[in-house]
């Protein structure tokens, strides 16, 4: 039955390996039942929309699993560290901040904080990304004001202080919270369940 639908079978390959390994034959059998019951065009109309919606969603969910989050975190630390070293070598000394961010994440990764980062939790993920967005806005506001002063050829002490004391830390914080937020898997499948002692 399934062998009669090679196109759909090949499209099923777009799903993550774990999902198609477990449900691949069921998906094709289901599609074959749809074709038998409602005709090919109705089956394709429903399945086409289904493919468009679920392939990216399941791919993203698969990517955001705990294992992949750990990989993402390691890649981010490496990139930040490499960027920091390159910046310093090129004489861009604020690049040290990238090294600091890499160091903070590396320490976090090897501590109990890592477990908190990798625990699937949609709310925490949203909160962390939200904090990153707010910090990014603060940094942009600070850099905007600094750029305005530069444009006017007059950098006041207050502007410099605001930029260095608020803007730069906000940038580092935004980078850290963005990475940590992206590394926090969504918790829709693993919503924490409050235990009830009986």
């Amino acid at each position: 039955m399934a062998a009669r639908h090679p196109v759909y079978r090949s499209l099923v390959r777009l799903y993550p390996k774990a999902f198609r390994g477990h449900y691949g034959d069921d998906l094709v059998a289901h599609f074959a039942d749809l074709v038998n019951d409602r005709g090919a065009s109705a089956a394709w109309a429903r399945t086409g929309v289904d493919l468009i919606v679920t392939v990216p969603r399941y791919r993203l969910e698969h990517f955001m699993t705990e294992q992949h989050s750990a990989t993402t975190l390691n890649v981010a630390i490496t990139l930040l560290a490499a960027g920091g070293v390159l910046s310093v070598l090129m004489g861009v000394y604020p690049g040290v901040l990238l090294l600091v961010a890499a160091l903070v994440l590396a320490v976090a990764e090897r501590s109990t904080i890592a477990r908190a980062i990798r625990t699937p939790d949609s709310n925490r993920r949203r909160r962390r990304l939200g904090i990153a967005a707010v910090l990014a806005l603060i940094f942009l506001a600070s850099i905007g004001s600094y750029a305005q002063d530069l444009n006017d050829d007059h950098i006041s002490g207050a502007s410099l202080l605001v930029h260095n004391a608020i803007g730069v830390p906000a940038m580092v914080g935004a980078i850290i919270f963005l990475i940590v937020g992206l590394c926090t898997p969504k918790g829709s499948d693993n919503r924490p369940v409050a235990p009830v002692v009986s």
Binding site: D25, A29, H30, F31, T47, N190, P192, A194, P195
Partner: protein, 116 residues
Amino acid sequence: MTRLDPSSLLPLPQAQFHVLVALTEGERHGYAIMQAVESSSDGNVRMGPATLYGTLKRLVDRGLAEELVGRPVADDDQRRRYYRLTGLGQQVCAAEAERLARLVRITRSNLRPGMA
């Protein structure tokens, strides 16, 4: 011994609740679940194959449904995978139904004066 609190899993996503409701009638395979969902929603909820099996996977992962090892119907297609509600699934389904019923009561109560 610990057990899970069904209310901690609420509110259920719509697709999950529809599938749980379909399984309250007994063990079903995927295609029969899709038909039951269409029937119970007057054709308003139409699940594609991957949406359905993704939903079933979530329900199984959360312990609300389980795959049957054997086949409830001897002469049925042996390739079909059957599913049924777990005890927790029944409790969660009932709790979600009660939650929605409460919402319906509040809505009716609030709208009645304006509708009269």
